[in-house]
Structures are given as structure tokens and as C-alpha cells.
Amino acid sequence: MTESPHADYLAGLLRSWSEKPTRPLSWLNELRAEAIDRVSKQAFPTKRDEEWRFTDISTLTHLPYLPSRPETSLQLQDIDHLFLPEAKNRLVFVDGHFHQQLSSLKNPDELIIGNLPDFSASHSSILESHLGQHAAFDHNIFTALNTAFLRDSALLIIPKNTTVADPVHLLFIAIQPEVTSYPRCLLIGEMGSSVTLVEEYATLAQSAYITNSVTEIALAANAHANHVRIQRESKQAFHLANCSVALDHASRYQSTSLSLGSQISRYNLDIRLAEEAAECSVDGLTLISNRQLADTHTCIDHVKPNGTSHQQHKCIVDGAAHAVFNGKIIVRPHAQRTNSSQSSRNLLLSKTAQIDTKPQLEIFADDVKCAHGATVGQLDPEEIFYLKSRGLSEVAARNLLTYAFGAEIISRISIPSLKQQLEQIVLNQTQSN
């Protein structure tokens, strides 16, 4: 990586870290010290870096946004419109800091759902083997920064053969302008466990701030996780997120992620099918307008045989917005009989909207089934004609098809109240007169 043009910013950030919370655990201190060391050795990526060629974050690296401080003034009634009635367990983080009073925990004792520091002593050994172990920060400055500032974190440990019936809602709310927050999540699904996790980034103020989040998900043999991720930050915000998923034997990971907010957002989703017969389905929807930029980079890494991955990513881009999708699929030499499919479908709603989509297949095994396809375009005239022949006006036909384009991804979400909320968002953002 090149010499950092933003060294001052990084130095400032790290100085601000002088009031770092002290941790009793040596391994956690070491992890953070290591991350700090990695931060000082890396520079912010520029468009000269292949992985960042479409996404210019130079504005962001000039912003003097210091790490957020805990904000306690928020009341339940300020945010209860964001709650999901189906979710009995809710963890609320305000600007990255855990907020006990706004959270609601109704889990039985054997289930660990809570804030990391409350369990770091009692569950030290399992945490040590997962925290910071899946989301590597050697070559990722944002993950390194997040790890350096690691304090609060949503923590879920689902015990062996336990099915959590109701979804768990992790709500990350941004309220302070011009700060940087470092949300963090860790989900450990033990053998044969099953859980639905909603990871949501929302805001109460349309101000500028930076969110730098890291999520780690580790599923043991036969475990299952349904991961719904919703990014609806302020339209002025910068959202940089990394999610790393490690899949053990015959585990199943389902991801549905939505990028709706932020001025600039980047979501890296890395899934490693580390053992045989692991499965993942990865669906994404980007819905942006005006001058938004939303970049999704996914990497699905088939390491062992008999793995399955299905991916569908869609972008609806209006105004002068710019969507980026880079979908890498690696099939390593031993990953025989891998079955993988990827589809990237993109809809441009204006002449100034822009999409860059890049399927990237790296296949080193010979007995594999890999299908992929990418389309960029406008609505299909045959589909419009069909609807008009049923009496719908041109505008109504276009509106319905645009809505449907996005709603297809939303329809994969199994939580009725959330699905309805999101359908409404898609409806509001796809209808013209």
C-alpha cells in the first residue's frame, strides 16, 4: 500500500485513543495493541487500490471526526418506532456504545445475548478463540481501527442444539453529528444451533458522521444463522462495514442485506466455507438516489468439497447515484462438487445513475457447477407492455415493476413487521408520478 496521505488524521485518531478503557484481559489488550500497530502501518485506500477503484473515500479521510462518547439522553419513546414486535431480545447501541435501558433482554440463562464486557471474564476462552479471529485486520485499515477501539460489542452465543425462536434485533443508532463510531458484533453459533439476527444501522438525525462497523459470525457444524442486515444511515453519513463469516461442516448461513442510506457506504462481506457441505445464500439490495454511493464487495470462499452458495444482488439506482458490486467467488483446489450461482441485476432509473458490477470467479477445482450472470439496464419493454395490456398506465406499470425489482429481495425476509417496513421504503423510493 502507498504512503498514507492521511497520516495526520490517523495520528490524531490514535492520540484521541489515550483514554482507552483498560481491560483486565491480557489477550484482549494484546488484540487491541496488535490492531493499533496495524493501523499505524496502513494507509487509507485510494482509487489506485484495485479493491477501491470505484469508491473514492478521500473526503472521508479529511474529516476530523473523533470517536463518539457515550450519549445517555436518549429515551425509549425516541426510538421505539424502530423496534420490531417479533424481536423479544433487542440490543441497542447509541453511537456504538451499548445502552442498557433501551435494550430488552428476555433470553433464558443458557443463551448469551448481551454486551461483550459483561461476558469477557466469564466466557474468556470462547471469546478469545473468536473475537478478532475471523475479521482479519492485517490488510484492512477499517477493521484494524474498529478493533483498536474495541470496547462494547453485541455478543450472541447460541448453545449447542438450541433454536432461538424469535429474531434478535441489534439496533445501532447514530445520534451525534461529526463523530466516528465503531459498532461491533460477534455471533457464535454452536453445533446444531439456529438463530435469526437483524443487524440494523439507523439514525435519528440527518447529519454527517462515520460508522465503522465489524461483524464476525462463526457457525459450528450444522448450525444455522439467518442474518438480515439493514443499513439506513443518514444520507450525509459514511458507513464502512466489514462482516466475516466462518462456516463449519454442513452449517448454513443466509444473508439478506440492504443498503439504503449513507452518502458513501462500503460493505465487505467475506464468507469462508471452511469445511465440507457448508451452505450459504447471499441476497443483497442497494436502493440509492441523489449523489449517494453504495459499494458492496462480497467474497465467497469455497475451501472444502460439497459446498453450496447462491447469491443474488440487485441495485436500483436513481439520480446521480453510483452503485458498485464486486462479487468474488473462490473455489479452491479441494472444493470439488461445489455448487455456486451468482446473479447481479441492476436497474438504472435515470440517465445520470451509474453502476459498476463485476463478477469475479476464481475456480481452481474441476468438478464444480458455477453459474453467474450480470445485467444492467432499464425495465423490460415486454413486461411494461404486459401490464399496460391489463389497463395500467405507463407510469403505473413502471412503478410496479421497479417496486417488484426491489421487493423480490425483501420477500426473502421472514419477519413480517420488518418486511412490511422495508416494502414501504422500497415503495416510497421507487414511485414516480
Partner: protein, 264 residues
Amino acid sequence: MINPNSTPILTVRGLRASINGTEILKGIDLTVKSGEIHAIMGLNGSGKSTFAKVLAGHSAYEVTGGSIQFEDKDLLELPPEERARAGLFLAFQYPIEIPGVANTQFLRLAYNTVQAQRGKEELDPLEFDDFVREKMKLLEMKPDFLDRSVNEGFSGGEKKRNEILQMALLEPKLSILDETDSGLDIDALKIVAQGVNQITNKDNATILVTHYQRLLDYIVPDYVHVMQAGRIVITGGKELALELETRGYDWINENNSSIAGVLA
């Protein structure tokens, strides 16, 4: 049924149409009166599906000559949605799929749009649900049909039944069924035909576009027209379809003038 006192619904005169500069329809004349069922037969490429699409107003085809009168309206002046609202319905050969939109939402939207244009009352979701379930019985459709996305994952037969369900809901004056029999097994064909037969009455009319005679065993036409190279070359009664079935389309080429003489 043919009724000497019935009024024309559709009057096509000298219709010519082309796509990308290639002329497909080369002068079609056809009159369809209320109560009548017409079959348009022909080989692939004869222009019969093009004729169906031109009637519905598909924008890919340019009408280069002739006229189409639909009741008291000049059909060529109307965009597709206004033709639909005026009472023209095309059942598609390949209905489109709309993942993400429940069939019931789509059906109600189409129904209410057309109702509103006709100055009739729209139905709310509950009222519509009762209404559509009644119509679905005609076509022996399962209730989960309503909750599934429009045509997504539907079998060929289910898609065609969904088309006829729309026909039943929209109550058109003129229905054009484009190759509705293609891809159907005999059971599905019977159900679809039975549905169509229940919808047809003395005030509406139907045009069946088909390649095969098979459909006409179940929906009996009053007239059979054979298209060739963009023209209707012969018109006869239902026995013409049987004749074609046994003798094949070549028989027309060989005997064109003499048959036309017999049938005239």
C-alpha cells in the same frame, strides 16, 4: 354463436404492420360480432401472433396501413392501456413473471384500474378476495395462487389459467387468446377451455389464435380463418380446422383457389 342481429365489436380492414422495417401483416380483413368465437390458425411465422399483438397495441409493431374499429372507437388511436380499459383483452402466449409482487395485489390493481376507468366501484382487499376466489373456482385454482408472486414458479398450465382468471376478472368485450393451448396437457387444456366457455356470452366475442386444432375440440369456433404470409387466405366453419388437422397446411397451398371457391 352466430346471430344475424348482433353488432360488430371488431372491424379490421386492410391491416398492414411491420417490425424493424419488415412487413409481417399484409392486409388483413376481419369482422367479429358479439357472441362469436373466431379461430385464427396458421403455421409459425404466418403472422397470427403478430396480429394478436397489434390488436393489443404492442409498440414494437408499426401499423403501416388499414384500420381497426373497436365498437365505436378507432383502436389505432388508443395506447394499450386504453384498449384494455375499453374492453380488449390479450391472453399472452408467454405471460411475464413478476417476482416480489403477490398475484392478488396485481390482480386487484388491474381490476380496480379497469373498474375505475369504466366508472364502476373499486374493491378493497377483503372484498376483492371474496370476488376473486369465486372466479378462481371456474378454473379450479388453489387458493395459494393468490399469495404467490405473479407467475413466478408457475407451471405452464398455471400461467395460462392465471391469464384466463384475468380475463374473467376484467370482463372484456373482446378476448384474444394467443396460443393459450401451447404447453398444456389435456387436463389443463380442458380446465382452461371450460373457463373460457363460461366467460363467453352473447355480448362478448373471442378470438383464438392457435397452431393446432386440439383446442377447438373444447372451445368450438363459429369461424375458422387460416393465415399465411400475413394474410387470411381462407375462412370457413369449424370443419375447416378438422380438414387442416387431417390434411396439413400444405393442402391449402395446393388447393388455395379451389377451396376458397368452395367455401365462398
